[in-house]
Assembly symmetry: C2
Homo-oligomer: 348 residues x 2
């Protein structure tokens, strides 16, 4: 791991609980992680928050921005608001003053801003959003991409997602030989829709991708795969379903438990266990999603993020910086491009 | 509700635990439900099972069949095995001796056999598999279709799925004014892939469909919708994810609970509550999937079904028979066809 002190540009104005919860998350991150943080947004509002929370001696710098892309606005608004917090944060990365952006604001706007200001990595047609899911094997995670950036995909996009996911799994999640799967409706190579059938062939024939075959719905959580690729339509539906499941599960446990003295006593005795269950299934505990394929690290958090999620997102961003995810993806996709060029020349 | 005594053709040879668990489920169904059952399969094997379980005076009739489509065989094998249990069971419905087929065997083979022997309803291009999910609102269910029959869909297929789901919701699930949703990645009509965008328009403009808008991943379980339509690729992935989630949840609860005396005592006190949680989240408790759009009732159970699931599947089949689902879908889709014809004539 490269020894760096990651510099994070944090969109202090983005998210349902901005700037208060964002600032609290930032304070904790500078205390516990080896990071410097730029708090990007309305100086007065940020200073008011800082005044309420002890932060002396911490590496927090306020960077002025004007306005924010509101959740109900269209993503293209980023073009008309060059001084909005997300744009100023992206510029810090573009100008190499920061290593990564973290935002819990409008996710479409964050993506548009990243594309506009950072640009795509070579060899990447479409950036993808990747999210890390816990699996049923304790301590083992899986990265799923795309979970919402691209609703209509071509096979080669998914091939690129597989390459990017492999790099992330190897260098950030620390899996020496990641198993890559294609999200599909059956294990057999003959199963799936047109996109899945064509992608299967492409993944199978790419020597850079440790493709092990099709993954089914259950495999998102089974722990049998380290990387799962899918189009952003399917991925987004699975992601939102998964988020809801955690919540519903906790509700069911709550509803069913405290009835009568047995329930009350049992619940009291099990309090620490129930808390651990909550941590394992509650998606909010898990930080954010990474935007893969742009020339810089960009972490998109849930709009409902509170300080704990912001802290986790900063941690994820720092891990991506430390492990040089962008550089490694770049060299991985360069190989792909060279091979494609050679094949094209051979076909002439 | 029509007063009928439903006659069920049960594929006694289909499923991982056939024929034993199938026969046990059938015995219970004839005891507790108002049904007559044809046990279709190898007479000797079925008689051996019956001999082990008391069943005197019950309405069970064995119907001979030869062979079964094995799970690992291709679905087209149904054509080459006309006397296989699934085909003989379908024939009973075709010849009006039975009202419905229930099978826990090869689901592709069941679909192929139904298409071949029963045929499609008028106005239906593609039959769909619908499955009923419990929602987080106690007692409220949602029917999701398609969950696997059609991996590449056209907008008009989804329109037909919506019509069929509406009939089922109204007449079987007893929802007077069902809310129909389109599974998508956002609530706004402008969200989605090409299929979703086009389908949204179609659903919105069909007066027979009580369409309320897009449903997101979380809405599969939210209880905000009564019918959710999607293509069979997305639906199958969500279904298998959901099945796995129930199982994983139970594993997590088991793993986290019994540690130390607190855990053991707490678990003992909570035993009945944990059992109720299991019942609410365990997919195996919920029976099977209905094949919509063929000319007859056809219930497809999970291959791993044990007697409880078979019993539930028979109950679901009986409810569909009692509520004349096929007849009602037929009249609903006839309306659609007439409207389409009128539109075509107007366009000449």
């Amino acid at each position: 791991m490269a020894v760096t002190r990651a510099k994070i540009a944090l969109d202090a104005m983005g998210g349902d609980y901005a700037p208060e919860e964002i600032v609290i998350g930032a304070i904790r991150a500078t205390q516990e992680l080896d990071v410097d943080i730029f708090l990007v947004g309305d100086r007065q509002a940020i200073e008011d928050c800082l005044a309420r929370h002890p932060h002396q001696g911490l590496n927090l710098t306020i960077v002025d921005a004007e306005g924010v892309v509101e959740m109900e606005e269209d993503a293209v608004v980023v073009r008309r608001k060059p001084k909005a917090s997300i744009n100023v944060a992206m510029n810090l990365v573009k100008e190499k003053q920061a290593d990564a952006v973290v935002s819990a604001g409008h996710s479409g706007a964050a993506m548009a801003s990243a594309l506009l200001r950072l640009g795509r990595l070579k060899g990447i047609d479409r950036p993808a959003i990747g999210t890390v899911f816990p699996t049923m094997i304790p301590g083992k995670s899986v990265i799923v991409l795309d979970v919402g950036a691209n609703v209509d995909c071509r096979p080669k996009y998914l091939e690129q997602f597989a390459l990017m996911g492999t790099v992330y799994s190897q260098y950030v999640l620390g899996v020496p030989e990641p198993k890559v799967g294609l999200l599909n409706i059956g294990e057999e190579p003959t199963k799936g829709n047109t996109l899945a059938l064509q992608t299967h062939e492409l993944l199978k024939s790419n020597p850079e991708i440790p493709f092990v075959g099709n993954a089914e719905g259950r495999d998102v959580l089974s722990g049998n795969f380290d990387v799962i690729v899918c189009d952003g339509f399917v991925g987004n539906i699975v992601l939102k379903f998964a988020e809801a499941v955690g919540e519903i599960l906790l509700n069911i446990v709550k509803e069913e438990l405290p009835q009568g003295w047995r329930g009350k006593l049992g619940t009291a005795l099990l309090a620490p266990n129930l808390k651990r269950i909550k941590q394992r299934v509650d998606h909010a505990e898990h930080g954010g999603a990474l935007l893969f394929g742009v020339d810089g690290i960009c972490l998109i958090s849930h709009g409902s993020s509170r300080s704990g999620s912001i802290f986790n997102a900063i941690r994820l961003a720092k891990e991506a910086v430390d492990n040089q995810v962008s550089v490694r993806i770049n060299s991985s996709t360069s190989l792909l491009m060279e091979r494609q060029k050679t094949e094209e020349l051979q076909n002439i």
